[in-house]
Amino acid sequence: MSIYGKYAAYLPQILDETMAQIREIGQAYQEKNGQKLYEHLEGRVKGEESMTQKCKKKGLPLTPESALLENRDAIGLRIVCNFIDDIYTCIDLLKKQSNFKIVKEKDYITDAKANGYRSYHLIMVVETPFEDVHGNKPGQYFVEIQLRTIAMDTWASLEHEMKYKHDIKNPERISKELKRVADELASCDVSMQTIRQLIKEG
């Protein structure tokens, strides 16, 4: 039996619909402004195995309630933007959607993590036609969204490689270099943002 129970079948559909809605937002923005709102969009339903491990680690019972309410990243999306201000534009547009309700935001861009990680994290509740864990239909599901620039995304991939390789000989050195390069990438992101502003001002 899946940790997601009978809700397992709904999750990919909710993911698809949410992504489709965000694509529409992107298209409408592009038609209006002639510029891409984001560079690419990706999404996933957290695997059974991975969700089970996470619940075990947190000492939660292996139930759909744990998987869908206690954890709020069963459905996850990532929006990767060209420029920093596009991220904030995306967030504004997401907030305007009547079936999305943002319940938590964490700005790791203006408040980067100590290791250099930068991204904007938000959790929203989406209205769906499907029944939810509370038995409501139409039901509500949590969706986690990470927004970042291409540079932040590249950095996160590199950091991920280090995190999951356990036999690194000099982890302190690599961490230090990752932190340094994160600050350099942030510098480029901010500089490009500034140049964009200078172009706009003419």
Partner: protein, 222 residues
């Protein structure tokens, strides 16, 4: 500090060397300009003390040759005459300071201490602070809540603001300070002010650069 002394009078050379060694400096002593040039090619020095009137090669020639190799070591000339021309020539060929003979050991040692202070306390003080803002000149990193890297020119501009907080600095002054030697025009100042403003904001600094394009700018607490 490691010092090279070039002085042809054996007695004086000996006295000065011992006095400097007693003050804790490492001293190499040579007796003419050619030996000085050769020593500089082989060893690193923090200060070179160079007599002008020397056999084989005089001090002025030696300084010229040392500078021609691109060496920037601090050089103090010792001049027997108190003639202005001698001092001017010495400074113009690349010396940084001079002492007129006869000089007092006390004064020489005080000048060395002054030089040491300048290079260690002032120049190698690699960190500037203002409110919650920190600029690390070594790593070219600006930080408050977060940190962010700066380019060479951004670092130089930010450093100038941090050394002169609250003062009105004109576009011209900023340009002359940061870009004087470069093939640039004054409109570069506004671009770099814009970079610094964005970067200050991105790290959550409680510090702002006030001012309008083309005018004067000042660093203040936000």
């Amino acid at each position: 500090m490691k010092i090279l002394l070039a002085e042809d009078e054996a007695q004086l050379n000996r006295v000065v060397t011992v006095a400097m060694q007693k003050s804790g400096y490492e001293v190499d002593s040579v007796f003419n300009g050619q030996e000085a040039v050769d020593a500089v090619k082989k060893h690193p020095y923090d200060v070179i003390i160079m007599d002008i009137m020397m056999p084989v090669k005089n001090g002025l020639e030696a300084v010229k040759e040392i500078r021609a190799t691109g060496d920037k070591t601090y050089i103090m000339m010792l001049t027997a005459k108190s003639e202005i021309d001698d001092k001017v020539t010495g400074l113009d060929v690349g010396a940084d300071d001079y002492l007129t003979k006869p000089f007092s050991l006390k004064e020489l040692l005080a000048r060395l201490r002054s030089k040491e202070r300048r290079s260690e306390d002032y120049n190698s003080k690699q960190e500037l602070n203002y409110d919650n803002l920190k600029l690390d000149l070594n790593s070219q990193e600006l930080s408050s809540n977060n940190s962010i890297s700066l380019s060479k020119q951004e670092t130089s501009l930010m450093r100038y603001f941090l050394l002169n907080p609250g003062k009105q600095l004109s576009t011209r002054e900023l340009f002359n300070h940061v870009w004087k030697e470069e093939d640039e025009t004054e409109d570069v100042v506004w671009v770099y002010i814009s970079y610094l403003r964005s970067k200050l904001q991105s790290i959550g600094a409680h510090v702002k650069i006030l001012g309008e394009k083309g005018g004067s700018f000042s660093l203040t607490r936000a």
